[in-house]
């Protein structure tokens, strides 16, 4: 559906996006993830034709961006960051104008606007001026704007920023619904959002792609290494350490809390394809330690993200 090759963008001397390559298949929900200033928005802006790439190519279906920009724009619905809309227009007038620019005829326009009002929950604010709306409501109007023509590709730049938890859940629901038939690309720095909505993740940092994989693969590939947390009462750290470090595949045993009177917290770093919990349990059972907590931390996207993007 979308094919990006060696895409590069320079702002004067600053390289915002550096030779990135990726492909997006039809019906995929792709999450573009990265810290602030990683080049997410720039990438999306190039995909939508707002910025011209310094070099590299973008192909959408069979259209090249430098030859058939207008045709590509017709396929794409775009919600820019913080939904910039015409402030002096009424919500209905605005969407009506967008529908017109999208070349919809009158009957289709009215039924589509009605549909979108329902989908995005805009019925109550249809006749209000856009500058009176809260950030969340503007975001919804922006979403309606992006979906106006029922585009094949939907590009959303931080779609849930500034929304309250209920609205976030709603918008995610909408995105997942759309994603069943459409291709969706969304950028975010909120990790749970990617976990909740996306099939595939592309992580970029400093303009380069550092990971590009399906959600499950990404989690699995890093799951060789994991932590086990234990809390003991009235137990000596040194004896715990000496005993546990002997277990095969245990890389490290550290103390994680320093309070003298509290329980003793221990973190065990394991590097194994197997689950070591059983062995650890058997070991502890042979002693007289009082175990009050025992859990394994599976690697979340958050830890993966932090490891990949942290400064060297």
């Amino acid at each position: 559906m979308i094919h990006v090759e060696n895409l590069t963008k320079y702002y004067n001397d600053f390289c915002a996006v550096d030779k990135i390559n990726f492909d997006i298949k039809k019906g995929e929900i792709l999450g573009l993830l990265g810290p602030n200033g990683a080049g997410k928005t720039t990438t999306l802006r190039m995909l939508t034709g707002y910025f011209m790439p310094t070099s590299g190519t973008i192909r959408v279906k069979d259209y090249m961006i430098d030859e058939n920009l207008l045709k590509i724009k017709k396929l794409i619905g775009y919600l820019p960051e913080s939904a910039p809309l015409y402030h002096n227009m009424l919500v209905y007038d605005y969407l009506d104008y967008i529908a017109e620019l999208r070349g919809m005829d009158k009957d289709k326009k009215i039924s589509r606007i009605r549909q979108l009002f329902e989908l995005c929950g805009l019925d109550d604010i249809m006749h209000r001026s856009i500058n009176e709306l809260s950030k969340g409501l503007k975001q919804r109007v922006g979403l309606a704007h992006a979906m106006m023509y029922d585009p094949e590709i939907l590009i959303l730049d931080e779609p849930t920023s500034g929304l309250d938890p209920n609205q976030i859940a709603e918008i995610r629901e909408i995105i997942r619904e759309i994603g069943e038939e459409k291709t969706v690309i969304l950028s975010t720095h909120i990790l749970s959002e990617v976990e909740a909505t996306c099939d595939r993740v592309v992580i970029i940092n400093k303009g380069k792609i550092i990971a590009d994989d399906l959600m499950e693969n990404l989690k699995q590939s890093e799951s060789q290494k994991y932590f086990i947390y234990l809390d003991f009462l009235n137990t000596e750290f040194q004896s715990v350490r000496n005993r546990l470090i002997e277990i095969e595949d245990v890389v490290n045993v550290e103390r994680v809390n320093e309070e003298p009177n509290g329980p003793l917290g221990v973190r065990i770093t394991c590097k194994s394809a197997l689950d070591l919990r059983e062995t650890i349990y058997q070991t502890i059972k042979q002693t007289s330690w009082v175990l009050i907590e025992f859990h394994k931390e599976t690697k979340t996207l958050e830890t993966i993200f932090r490891e990949l993007t942290k400064e060297d």
């Binding site: 707002y50 011209m52 017709k74 820019p80 910039p84 809309l85 402030h87 002096n88």
Partner: protein
């Protein structure tokens, strides 16, 4: 072409829904009306020369004030990003906005038709020169609109857009009165650049293709500059 009309419609609606249009047009009418009638009876001649003579100067203030928002505001609010990602070309956008500006100037000129009508009651008015004057005013207005549009495409700050636009229009309006500053060999060329000179020819009722070509060139250069500015920013 349809897209151009849609953009133009939207911009015109924006002008006339908000109070800007009415304020700007009232001030324009007040200023031109005052300067015209204040001296009209001294001359004791039934023509509109006074009104048309001042038009290049009043337009240099009035038109940049109208066009300053066309691009600057969109850039400032960010809606420019929405606009450019809709199925529109640069030319659709800039021609649409330009036409909206021209229609606005025309709308401001319509009430001034009351002047020739009043004058026709008191004396023998030559309607030929009046028609020429209005045609010239429209050409001049379009040329200044193109310049103002260009100024607006340069910056996201409306005040800067206004001042830059005004400076360029003012220079075009006054340059042929400043000729004594320039060396003799350049006089012909610089004199030809003055909008006032060409406008006066048309306002006298002499419709010369050179004058029309001049205004069309200014319009074209202004719009082309806008196109380049849009392209440069993306």
């Amino acid at each position: 072409m349809q897209q151009v009309i849609r953009i133009c419609n939207k911009e015109l609606k924006d002008y006339f829904i908000s109070p800007i249009a009415y304020i700007v047009i009232s001030i324009f009418l007040l200023v031109t009306g005052w300067f015209f009638f204040a001296t009209f009876f001294y001359y004791n001649q039934a023509d509109l020369r006074n009104f048309f003579d001042l038009l290049p100067i009043t337009f240099s203030f009035f038109i940049p004030a109208v066009t300053m928002r066309l691009f600057s505001e969109e850039r400032n609010v960010g809606s420019y990003e929405m606009l450019l990602t809709l199925p529109l070309t640069f030319n659709d956008i800039l021609v649409g906005k330009f036409l909206a500006g021209v229609f606005f100037v025309a709308a401001a000129l319509v009430p001034t038709l009351a002047y020739p009508i009043c004058v026709a009651f008191i004396g023998q008015l030559d309607w030929g020169t009046v028609a020429g004057g209005y045609m010239g005013a429209l050409l001049l207005g379009s040329a200044f609109t193109a310049v103002g549009l260009f100024a607006s495409s340069l910056t996201r700050n409306q005040i800067i857009a206004f001042i830059v636009g005004m400076a360029i229009c003012f220079t075009l309006a006054l340059i042929d009165k400043m000729l004594f500053f320039f060396p003799r060999p350049m006089l012909g060329v610089i004199g030809y650049l003055g909008a006032d000179f060409h406008f006066k020819n048309i306002a006298k009722g002499i419709i010369d293709s050179r004058d029309i070509l001049y205004f069309i060139s200014v319009i074209f250069i202004g719009l082309y500059g806008t196109h380049l500015a849009m392209k440069g920013k993306n």
